[in-house]
Amino acid sequence: MASTAQPASSLKRRDVPVTREGDQLTIIPLGAGSEVGRSCCYMTFKGKTVLFDCGIHPAYSGMSALPYFDEIDPSTIDVLLITHFHLDHAASLPYFLEKTTFRGKVFMTHPTKAIYKLLLTDYVKVSKVSIEDMLFDEQDINNSMDRIEVIDYHQTKEVNGIKFWCYTAGHVLGAAMFMVDIAGVRVLYTGDYSREEDRHLQAAEMPEFSPDICIIESTYGVQLHQPRHVREKRFTDVIHTTVSQGGRVLIPAFALGRAQELLLILDEYWSTHKELQNIPIYYASPLARKCMSVYQTYILAMNERIRNQFAHSNPFQFKFIQNLNSIDDFNDTGPCVVMASPGGLQSGLSRQLFDMWCADKKNSCVIPGYVVEGTLAKTIINEPKEVTLMNGLMAPLNMQVHYISFSAHADYAQTSAFLKELRPPNIVLVHGEANEMGRLKQKLITEFAADGNTKVLTPKNCQSVEMMFNSEKMAKTIGKLAEKTPEVGETVSGILVKKGFTYQIMAPEDLHVFSQLSTANITQRITIPFSGAFGVIKHPLEQIYESVESGTDEESGVPTLLVHKLVTVKQDSEKHISMHWAADPVSDMVSDSVVALVLNISRELPKVVIESEASKTEEENEKRAEKVIYALLVSMFGDVKRDENGKLVISVDGNVAKLDKQNGDVESEHEGLKEKVRTAFRRIQTAVNPIPPFAS
């Protein structure tokens, strides 16, 4: 695309007096600006508005968990794009759809939509807030399902001239990075992404076009991940050692997303280690069990490896993993592996098991992901001597605690490699703790912005970022109008048709060929009572119009007059004359004047028209015209003199202009005056002479 993105400061033609309002692109993070949680990013450009993600903040509840929706007018938003199903990216959607004035369209991928419903329904059920604090209920979720449209990876959609499509993001099943194209300016919103392929997901794709703006997550800031196989080896080793020593392994994990990856690892490890196969693996999450069918279905959204395995059997039909509904069904007799939610060990099944097992040093607890500050999981990472149980008693913490992160966010190496290849001129960081983000910004600036062409921005919530895009508009001239490509200086006239952000220029005759618009000709025929002689009309018309042609009607043989080459006046009968013409503003005006004239003549018919006046010499005419011009110029400019060459000298406030009456040339030092005199003269001339027909 020919569009170039340039920040306002580097615009070259600043002096051009044109409005640039439409060229300003505004980005406002309504959430996840210098924080993690409630992702929501507002973007508007050329009157088109896009909202990316619509999450809640997991640390707050009720209205305070929402993004700052009151900063914007939801009814102006055209499209809302949801990147993936995590609560901090999708959970305020039912609220936004049902409780605000938002009337636009919502898009997400197929797997996201399927899991979104399950996840939010579960969220509504387990969240223990009062009814007033509830942002939405199950009914709202069901209603929202009807308004959500689905988009497949790479599929290009267009809404209101906003084009967008998405790429795989690697983070969880169905996660997408959205590329939005408004009038040739491209914005990439990564959502949460990972450039590392894992067991079931593809790595985030590299878009084939470089965006003008990249809104990118910065969760891990400048940290680096351990290589995946090292993490996996640690994970399987810990489990293997523990169970072979007769211990139990507890893996507290969020039900969806990374848990599936861990299950794949475990199932695979078990299938290659016969000695472990009599040791049960339990997966205790009813929600995840429900979602399993989604994982078993949307195989196409996963990586090549899973798809190949699918050729033999569905890899998500685990062989060694059993489901566990509640702790009552659990028969705690010997070594086993249990994966249970919640991931933070706040309460629930994972906590119950933790309480049971924490005192035995044979047991292990593997924490597989990002843990939130303030939860027990975060506490035990520091391996305290004692922990508080759910019943308030203290117990010694003897079990081994391992923190092995499988969180699928990009680390610094991935972010920097991604941006290096993408080379966006503007980078907006979101979704990261302020400190991490600050460090990342510094590092990115030293890496990319050294040449001054890249800007790195870290807006806080509700802080708007404005960028100017000098968008070059390209049009395609087609059809009859394009038969010859014009040389420089030649004029091009035609209809400019805009659809979305594409422009076409065409001749009016071609309008119906290249667009679904059609044109019309309106022929008007009007009858006027007139009882005088037909020939009488001609003369007064000639005084107004330069061209009045006499003729006879082909059909009836009655005399006609073609006025101004537009309006035909015809004698219909003794008492009536008729006029017909093709409607357009000029013809209408001409016809009106003819009507007025005819009516006038009917009224003043007795007056005899002096024939001789018609034959007034050209000279006389010219002399009269000259007089009129002079008089009018004097009335306009005041000081008008005639010089020796017959030119008129006009002085205004010390500025002098010389006007050549013959050809209308004006000489003057002062541009403004020159232009004024020229315009005035042109107008006077059109007024004093009969109106010439168009040279059409």
């Binding site: 044109v18 497949d152 990876y153 279905t297 508009k473 059809g479 038969e483 119906h512 022929t523 000029v586």
Partner: protein
């Protein structure tokens, strides 16, 4: 100077032969579809063989034999080697269709036109795209964008949109505009006024009964047969319309709670359904919705049982049953065998759901009246026994020996040829680069040498004496000692993918092994055939479940798409001619129906050039909004852009723009106008001849409707007549308000 477009049919015009067309866009050759029929007649592919090597890209539209059957053969025998594009379901189901075709053939004949490996390797080079994905071609096709769009008919079915320089070439065959149980219909709005539309006349003459009536008759017919104790055979394709039928049956059985067995019998039945289950995103809205809300996968079949060999069917409990079996043509596959078995029983029913391919058994049976008896060839692959086996084994042995002999001779030759000169040149230079090679590589090399020493060792003529291979150990040293390569000491990544994916490396493995085992078994076997005459006593019914748009819809869709040029392919001569005449009269002036290998040039005579709209110009343009369009009149001067040599339009400076004839833009419907006038308190009524009488004196007429060519209406001619009065100007004002004046 529009984009040059040529269309050359290679197969499938003026008849119902498989589809295969060559579309060249600015000399980039697309092969759209690569079909074959159920006879696998290589003579059909002759035109293709002449151009196969010139083809730059292949686009596939449907996963059935008629649209992609020739692909493996063309890739392995005709020198076709271009990249192929299709949707994921077309790729996957097409592959399964070809497996099924191959296995059905191999079971009854010494089929050797292509092998399973050919099928695999042909499909391996397919690039998969999703619907409305704009794929930008690179290299020779720079500037061309291809995009598949929903076509209905079969899962993954595609209407191809090829775009170059803003001009669209649309290839739309076999599409269906109706929504079905598992598929969405075509969205004609995505293709408005393309430069070229290539479509087919296949159904131009057919008319379909209403769907509900047809469905009811279909199910009634089946149930009646079952209740009468008969069996129902539905000959179907491998992975196409069968899916829709399965859903219809499944739904009906659940509704009525019927106990009769339904079997879906193809060599790949279970994997077909497994894959189809994961293609929800390609199916219709209702299927996707039911999954999203209740996680009910429509293809989680409860009633239909999947079978992959006929033994299982024979072992099924005796009693009336419905069997969907491939192939639809009855030429091969399970349907053929079952037909032969069942045809002689009057209680049975053979229900055709699609028109049989020309010249096949199915087509013969669909004739009216149906033949009383048909001759069929029953073939069977039987293992060799007794003398034959001995003979075969001896033959094999002999062949093997010959081959060995040949190989060893060849090896000697080779050894002489390669090592001879190599050693003669300089025996000392033996791969010094290889000095760091890991031991296993060296080992294999060593083996190689040993081989030479044993039977091929010929001392080079120039060498003084035979010598053993010698490696120079040229390690580098610097101030700190030997230079080491840190990579050598890195603990090798356990490549997870390799260690865990040993389950099966072959990408398209999913064959139903049991079914294939017998056919693919290397056990010596032979094909025994015998001709027999089958008395056709069972009832035969044909119902249209093809899922294609019927004649009337095709016409209205073409009119809606309103192409500038139209190319008609695929369909009987009669249908093609009919549609051609219809389109000439109602759609556009350029309708072509080329013969095989006849190239039609459908380059648009459209002139176009690109200009930049300068900021100064645009800031003065006032757009008027008309639906999704915005229009404005511009007068501009051409100029050059600052940096590159593009034309730019600048506002006309100083001299006033030349006046232009004003244009009224808008589409006037008399009925709408009447309503509008009435709402303004004008007395209106239609007078004779389509004239609208407004008030007492003024009449409005629309004339020249004949200029309705080119899809959209041409320039409308409206006449307003009346005496000089106030009403006249008022009505004119109202009339004007219906238009935009430019």
């Amino acid at each position: 100077m529009g984009t040059s477009v040529q269309v050359t049919p290679l197969c499938g015009v003026y008849n119902e032969n498989p589809l295969s067309y060559l579309v060249s866009i600015d000399n980039f050759n697309f092969l759209v579809d690569c079909g074959w029929n159920d006879h696998f007649d290589p003579s059909l592919l002759e035109p293709l063989s002449r151009v196969a090597s010139k083809i730059d890209a292949v686009l596939l539209s449907y996963p059935d034999t008629l649209h992609l059957g020739a692909l493996p053969y063309a890739m392995s025998h005709l020198g076709l080697s271009a990249p192929i594009y299709s949707t994921e379901p077309v790729f996957r189901l097409g592959l399964l269709t070809m497996y099924d075709q191959y296995l059905s053939r191999k079971a009854v004949s010494d089929f050797d036109l292509f092998t399973l490996d050919d099928v695999d390797s042909a499909f391996l080079s397919i690039t998969r795209l999703t619907y409305s994905q704009n794929h930008h071609l690179s290299g020779k096709g720079e500037g061309i964008v291809i995009a598949p769009h929903v076509a209905g008919h079969l899962l993954g079915g595609t209407v191809w949109k090829i775009t170059k320089d803003g001009e669209d070439v649309i290839y739309a065959v076999d599409f269906n505009h109706r929504k079905e149980r598992h598929l969405n219909g075509i969205v004609a709005e995505s293709f408005v006024r393309p430069a070229v539309l290539i479509t087919e006349a296949y159904n131009a003459l057919s008319n379909q009964p209403p769907r509900q009536k047809r469905d009811r008759e279909f199910l009634d017919g089946i149930v009646r047969t079952l209740e009468g104790g008969g069996n129902v055979l539905l000959p179907v394709d491998t992975a196409g319309r069968a899916l829709e039928l399965i859903l219809i049956l499944e739904e009906f059985w659940a509704q009525r709670n019927l106990g009769y067995d339904i079997f879906f019998l193809t060599y790949v039945a279970s994997s077909t359904i497994d894959y189809v289950k994961s293609f929800l995103e390609w199916m219709g809205d209702s299927i996707a919705k039911s999954f999203e809300t209740s996680r009910n996968n429509a293809f989680q079949l409860k009633r239909v049982k999947l079978l992959i060999n006929k033994m299982d069917l024979d072992n099924a409990p005796i009693g009336p049953k419905v069997v969907l079996a491939s192939m639809a043509s009855l030429e091969a596959g399970f349907s053929h065998d079952i037909f032969v078995e069942w045809a002689s029983d009057v209680r049975n029913l053979v229900l055709f759901t699609e028109r049989g391919q020309f010249g096949t058994l199915a087509r013969m049976l669909q004739a009216d009246p149906p033949p009383k008896a048909v001759k069929v060839t029953m073939s069977k692959r039987v293992p060799l026994v007794g003398d034959e086996l001995v003979a075969y084994e001896e033959e094999q042995k002999r062949l093997k020996k010959e081959e060995e002999l040949k190989a060893s001779l060849l090896k000697q030759e080779e050894a002489r040829a390669s090592y001879g000169p190599d050693n003669t040149s300089d025996p000392m230079v033996i791969d010094t680069t290889n000095s760091h090679a890991p031991p296993d590589v060296a080992g294999s090399r060593g083996g190689g040498y040993r081989d030479i020493l044993i039977d091929g060792f010929v001392p080079p003529s120039t060498s003084v004496a035979p010598m053993f291979p010698f490696y120079e150990n040229n390690t580098e040293w610097d101030d700190f000692g030997e230079v080491v390569n840190p990579d050598d000491y890195v603990i090798k990544d356990e490549d997870m993918n390799q260690t865990t994916l040993h389950v099966g490396g072959d990408i398209d493995g999913k064959l139903d092994e049991a079914a294939a085992s017998f056919i693919l078994d290397t056990k010596p076997s032979k094909v025994v055939s015998n001709e027999l005459t089958v008395q056709v006593k069972c009832s035969l019914i044909y119902m249209d479940f093809e899922g294609r748009s019927d004649g009337r819809s095709i016409k209205s869709i073409i009119a809606r798409v309103a192409p500038l040029k139209l190319v008609l392919v695929h369909g009987s001569a009669e249908a093609t001619e009919h549609l051609k005449q219809h389109c000439l009269n109602h759609v556009c002036a350029h309708v072509y129906a080329p013969q095989i290998e006849e190239t039609v040039d459908v380059t648009s005579d459209l002139c176009a050039y690109k200009v930049q709209l300068s900021e100064q110009l645009m800031s003065n343009v006032l757009f008027k909004k008309l639906g999704e369009y915005e229009v404005a009149w511009i007068d501009a001067v051409a100029g050059k852009t600052e940096n590159h040599d593009m034309l730019t339009l600048l506002p006309t400076v100083s001299k006033p723009p030349p006046p232009h004839k004003s244009v009224l833009v808008g589409d006037l419907k008399m009925a709408d106008l009447k309503q509008f006038l009435a709402s303004k308190g004008v007395q209106v009524e239609f007078a004779g001849g389509g004239a609208l009488r407004c008030g007492e004196y003024v009449t409005l007429r629309k004339v020249g409707v004949a200029s309705q060519k080119g899809g959209g209406s041409g320039i409308q001619q409206i006449v307003i007549e009346g005496p000089l009065c106030e009403d006249y100007y008022k009505i004119r004002e109202y009339l004007y308000s219906q238009f935009y004046l430019l």
